[in-house]
């Protein structure tokens, strides 16, 4: 079945630094979403992409459907960025969404 490989599984960043998260897809996906899950369990929508690149503040995401991957870049990390980040991909029309395993991000002062 469809699979999503997310990396890294865990990441520690000092405040003010940045890094990238990546999701690789084993089949062609039509779109991808990125979420941040906070300590209460709430899923916060970060990006939805059917193609290309989107930027929002210190976050930027790219989806390359031909090469089957998506990335989420975080720059100038802040303490409130800590949490678990998930990518989720789907093929339009079959209503099935597949989530990556998540990246546990800890931002340290």
């Amino acid at each position: 079945g469809d699979q999503v490989e997310q990396s890294p599984s865990a990441l520690s960043l000092h405040e003010g630094t940045g890094s990238a998260l990546r999701c690789n897809f084993t089949t062609t996906m039509r779109a991808v979403q990125w979420f941040q899950q906070n300590s209460r369990g709430s899923l916060i929508n970060l990006f939805y992409l059917a193609s290309g690149t989107k930027e929002n503040g210190r976050l930027k995401s790219t989806f390359n459907s031909k090469e089957s991957y998506s990335t989420l870049h975080i720059r100038d990390a802040q303490l409130e960025d800590s949490g678990t980040y998930f990518c989720a991909a789907f093929n339009t029309g079959n209503y099935k969404y597949v989530f990556g395993a998540g990246t546990r991000l800890k931002v340290i002062a």
Partner: protein, 111 residues
């Protein structure tokens, strides 16, 4: 504005007891609805989806069932809980081919 409400916020139940979790979406007509389960420290697993009232499709069999009695309501239930049902249950909605929005979730502990 669309709002998504889940109830209860948390439940502690005994093995073998019944369960009913609810989800209501306001402010959106005929949304696609989804149930997800998340084990502690794990990822989200899609359980069911529904594109219209009265129709529910199963994605993963976990001895659970779902129903959509109204356009804005999605119910997850079982007659006999297992220990493995413990976790975090999330409801979500979307329009066709567009991004999903999640509810606040219900935390279930089965003892």
């Amino acid at each position: 504005a669309q709002t998504i409400h889940q109830w209860p916020v948390a439940e502690i139940k005994a093995v073998g007891s019944p369960l009913s979790l609810g989800c209501t979406i306001k402010g959106k007509s005929s949304p696609n609805l989804y149930w997800y389960w998340q084990a502690t420290g794990g990822t989200l697993q899609q359980l069911f989806y529904s594109i219209t009232v009265g129709q529910v499709e199963s994605v993963v069999q976990l001895n659970l069932s779902a129903s959509r009695p109204k356009d804005d309501q999605f119910i997850l239930s079982t007659e006999k809980l297992l220990l493995s049902h413990s976790g975090f249950y999330l409801c979500a909605w979307s329009l066709v081919g567009v991004e999903q929005y999640f509810g606040p979730g219900t935390r279930l502990t089965v003892l």
